[in-house]
Amino acid sequence: MIEITNLSKGFGSVKALDSMTCTIPDGCIFGMVGANGAGKSTLLRLISGIYLPDEGSVKINGEEVYDNPKAKENLVFSSDLMRLVSNGATLKRMAQFYASVYKNFSFEKFEHLASIFNLKPSLKVRAMSKGMTKQSQTILSLACNTDIILFDETFDGLDPIARNVAKKLLYREVCDNGTTIIVTSHSLRELEDTCDQLAMVYKGKIVLQSDVSDLKTKLFKVQLAFDQEHSREDFTAAGLELLSFTKAGKVVTLILKGDRDDAEAKLNAMKPVLMEVLPLSLEEVFTYEMNVMGYKFDEID
């Protein structure tokens, strides 16, 4: 388990993280979304022990992680700044390097994953495209067989096919080995169908953290048509938790939060002519949640 408590990190006058607190449970895919400069990469660098926190702490299984080899033994960080050993090195040479550092590194798994991505181990790093480099980072990180893997925008540069392959590999890794995977992205759509948990980072803080399935089920959109006009107050008076209300004559569109069956029952009691419950995309869910909290979503993505 990764425990982040009151974590702050600044660079000169810029405060990258501001008293952040969160807990990342074991065996899940934890997604972090936020705009560029929100503090996602800084958080990952703090989790992987690259940066020293100004305040607060990052603990992995109860141990401070900064410059602590023992805490970092079961963690691998796939950075967007991955340079690898040297430009002249091949993928195989990289694997050897990782194997010398990570005791659970599996060459068998490495070769298997490389074949899935159709990457030759003899391929030189400098000859790789951006996408291939990201694939290589994914392969090497997974082959390390660590308990925690941190991916910093690793999937953003992948083509759709490679991205799907990578996602499947992550699922399998979590299912088979109970690995904790943290993925960052500036795009919600990238993480929507990948993560178990999602956190939104905004100006150095986690402004929202939730289970993805909970988020999707607790917020829903309902479109209603009545034979007479209804005001917003009519719905709140019926005991509905209203996040959004839009009215076009006798047609009303609501974004509701709460138990879906209970809400449907309350709406039916208002005798609508037509009622339709529509699914919300994760992006819409976040938009409405952020609006409730007073943030504007367009500032985030």
Partner: protein, 817 residues
């Protein structure tokens, strides 16, 4: 308080192996270069017979330290780019290895490759030794011990540089700033010391003044300090990198103060370099005397030092701050750089005071020891040598006080001052003394032990020009100094030694030589070790530049057959003249060389040509060992050219005598008498042998030298024929050759010059500007010096050959030059 919060192992074997791989290319390249230089080092410096050295034009052994400097500097850069550079920091710092462990592993990997490079050198030395013997090279190899010590020093300085870079990189944030800071850390102390010495020249550097430990003491002190300093830097680098924070890199705001310090250092370096570059006597006086010296000095100081400093500081701040405005603001700190100059001047003044208090008068000196830093020939503890040294350069035109000191130290360091009973103006033809001294162009370290027991190291530049009478010393002068004689005549250093020139004389010859040397007394051995002149046995003689050590040249007064004896590791080398003082060795030498000469494939052809006199010109030198005395006669035959003042009768006589000499010479050489029965031995050194004047070039292949024998060639001849030959050559030389090597004539022109000197119309100087007396001049001339200095304006001296001086005197009616 714990230095590091979390525990971490000191070392990671697997990571170390990976770093070994990362450094492999650099290590292999440097090891290959070192291997090459190791081989080349065997051919020594300035070895004329080594084709490879000729190809490169300089002694390769000097390059040893450069490889290590290059290697450690490149290793440090490799560390910067793999462990500090932004593109790598996520990769490296997320690994489950503590930063301090990474440094330890990198350092260990660097040292492992350094060890391989070190070993490569010695493999190269062994290969070079084999090649040297195979090629019969006459060059002097590096001493193993000296090479090793030199390389160990290089390793220490390399480690120091490496650690300095790591430390700076751990506290400074940009590669540019790191490199600039490295330059400042390395360069500023050197420039600082140079500047301090520049403005106060004393013939003794500040370190030696502040730590009067003597040469060996100071060397040991420096070595210990450098080792301790390197160890301290290793620990500091370990901590600094271990505590470094990657997030501070490339964040200028965090290290502004450090950047200002580096900028000031850069400014100070540039100011000092500019001061040296624009060497200006007024500027130097300004530094020495302060601004009161001349009002225009301020202007000079601003132009030569302040403006370059200002520009350098501003450019550095502009680059490091990435802002023109911020760089402008930082200019307020620039005046702090004056602290550096102030400190240099203050230290110079303190050292001056100490220097002034030192009494280096003859009465106060107990003894003097010379250390040869280059070949280590005089580095044996307990050895004394005498030489004429000057401390520093006169050309710089420093203050009067300096000149007084300079004169003092020159007198002090001249042999006549050092020897308590020396004769100030000995006119016995004795020249300078160097114990087995070979390269005369290098700086020497001299250790002066005063009677109060304090030891002072002085740096002296021994000159390669002529010795003056004031600088002469005879071994006789110090014969009563038993300690000196025993040390000088000690054979310990040549235990199990061998002759390295000429090569391939065999172990029997080595043994004979060492046994014969062992049978002599200390004083006899001392004479041999310091002397090259068998006809002046008992007196030291002067050895010129490195090139003629392998054979006598025309300027030398040496008539001996010079061998080079070396200790097994080449750390000690001595030139030894064969002759009556080593009869067994000389006889064996003659036998070996005689055999070698006669078995040469071109020998028969040479004799035929000699008999038929089928050549245009023959020059040679004949050295005869007769009744224990060495005699030398020069010979020059030119068949196609008329002798001096020729006419028909002299031409005829010339041809007759030359033909007779050639025939007799051929007969002498051809006579195959057993060497044991030959009471006289001829050494023949024909070095010019031309077929015709129309096509004038050297036929090396027909000369003895061309037979692959670069030393003198010896053939055993019968006593009777040798007598005839020498008599004939003597007559011939008397008639046709103006110059006789056996007796340097006081020719007419020389007499005119001495007359002009004696009555004060002409002033001659040695290269240090010391005016010569007639005796001085005669002494030098007898020792083969044909050039002197004449004053050509204030403090300016012109080197003039004796013949030119005569010509000028004649042209100007002997009145003046």
């Amino acid at each position: 308080m714990k230095l590091f919060k979390a525990k971490a192992s000191l070392f990671s074997g697997s990571y170390y192996k990976e770093l070994l791989k990362e450094l492999m290319v650099l290590g292999i390249v440097c090891a290959a270069l070192q291997l090459f230089y190791g081989i080349m080092g065997e051919f020594g410096e300035g070895a004329p017979s080594s084709p490879l050295v000729l190809l490169f034009g300089f002694g390769m052994n000097r390059v040893h330290p450069d490889i290590f400097t290059l290697y450690f500097f490149a290793s440090a850069l490799s560390f910067l780019f793999t462990h500090v550079h932004r593109k790598n920091w996520d990769f490296r710092n997320s690994l489950p290895i503590a930063k301090r462990t990474m440094f330890a592993c990198h350092f260990a990997a660097v040292m492992t490759w350094a060890a391989i490079i070190f070993i490569a050198n010695f493999i190269g030395v062994f290969i070079g030794e084999g090649l040297r013997i195979a090629m019969s090279s006459t060059s002097l190899p590096d001493g193993f011990g000296i090479s090793a010590v030199s390389m160990i020093k290089s390793v220490i300085s390399g480690v120091t540089s490496y650690c300095i870079i790591v430390i700076i990189a751990s506290v400074v944030n940009r590669v540019f700033s790191v490199l600039a800071a490295f330059g400042v850390v390395i360069g500023l102390p050197i420039l600082f010391i140079g500047f301090e010495a520049y403005i106060r020249y004393r013939g003794m550097d500040t370190l030696e003044l502040l730590f009067p430990l003597g040469i060996n003491g100071l060397e040991t002190f420096k070595l210990i300090v450098s080792i301790l300093f390197a160890l301290l830097l290793i620990v500091l680098a370990y901590i600094a990198y271990g505590k470094s924070r990657v997030e501070t890199f490339q964040k200028p705001a965090r290290t502004e103060a450090i950047n200002v310090l580096i900028g000031l250092g850069v400014a100070a370096c540039v100011g000092l370099i500019a001061t040296f570059a624009f060497e200006n006597s007024d500027l130097m006086r300004f530094y020495q005397s302060g601004p009161k010296y001349e009002s225009s000095s301020w202007y000079l100081c601003i132009v030569y030092a302040c403006i370059p400093m200002l520009i350098a500081y501003f450019i550095f701040m502009w680059i490091s701050q990435r802002s023109f405005v911020r760089a402008l603001k930082k200019l307020v700190f620039l005046p702090l750089v004056l602290v550096v100059f102030g400190a240099a001047i203050l230290i110079a003044m303190i050292a001056d005071k100490k220097w002034e208090k030192l009494d280096f008068s003859v009465e106060n000196i107990d003894y003097v020891r010379i250390k040869d830093e280059h070949f280590g020939l005089n580095s044996q503890p307990g050895y004394y040598s005498y030489a004429f040294f000057s401390s520093g350069s006169q050309s710089r035109g420093s203050s009067k006080a300096f000149n007084v000191k300079h004169t003092d130290s020159a007198v002090l360091l001249s042999a006549s001052t050092l020897a308590k009973n020396s004769k100030d103006n000995s006119d016995d033809g004795v020249s300078m003394l160097f114990e087995s001294y070979i390269n005369s162009d290098y700086t020497k370290k001299i250790e002066i032990t005063l009677k109060d027991g304090t030891k002072w190291g002085v740096t002296g530049n021994n000159h390669s020009g002529p010795a003056t009478a004031k600088g002469r010393i005879a071994l006789e002068d110090v014969e009563d100094n038993k300690e000196y004689i025993d040390a000088l005549g000690s054979l310990d250093r040549f235990k199990n030694g061998k002759v390295i020139y000429p090569l391939n004389l065999g172990s029997e010859f080595n043994k004979t030589l060492l046994d014969e040397l062992a049978s002599l007394s200390s004083i006899e051995r001392a004479r041999i070790f310091i002397s090259e002149a068998s006809n002046n046995l008992g007196y030291p003689s002067y050895v010129h530049d490195s090139a003629p050590i392998f054979k006598s040249d025309e300027w030398s007064s040496s008539y001996g057959y010079t061998l080079m004896l070396a200790s097994p590791t080449y750390d000690h080398v001595s030139l030894i003249d064969l002759g009556e003082h080593l009869p067994k060795t000389t006889e064996l030498f003659m036998k070996l060389m005689d055999k070698k000469t006669r078995s040469h494939k071109d020998y028969g052809e040479f004799i035929t040509m000699l008999k038929n006199a089928s050549f245009a010109q023959l020059e040679g030198r004949f050295i005869v060992l007769k009744d224990g005395k060495m005699l030398e006669h020069g010979l020059q035959l030119e068949y196609s050219a008329s002798p001096v003042n020729s006419n028909a009768s002299t031409d005829k006589e010339y041809s007759r005598m030359a033909g007779e000499i050639c025939t007799l010479l051929a007969e002498c050489i051809e006579a195959k008498e057993p060497i044991e029965n030959a009471s006289t031995v001829i050494g023949l050194d024909i070095y010019r042998f031309c077929k015709s004047l129309d096509k004038y070039y050297y036929y090396g292949e027909y000369s003895f030298e061309g037979m692959g024998i670069t030393a003198k060639l010896f053939v055993g001849v019968s006593a009777e024929k040798a007598e005839q030959l020498m008599k004939l050559i003597g007559e011939f030389n008397e008639k046709f050759n103006a110059y006789n090597y056996d007796e340097i004539p006081f020719q007419y022109e020389f007499e005119i010059i001495t007359e002009a000197v004696s009555d004060g119309r002409l002033k001659l100087y040695d290269q240090f500007g010391n005016e010569l007396t007639v005796d001085d001049m005669v002494g030098m001339y007898k020792n083969g010096y044909q050039w002197f200095y004449v004053e050509n304006g204030e403090q300016n001296f012109e080197q003039v050959f004796i013949m030119d001086i005569y010509q000028r005197l004649m042209e100007q009616g002997e009145d003046t030059l």
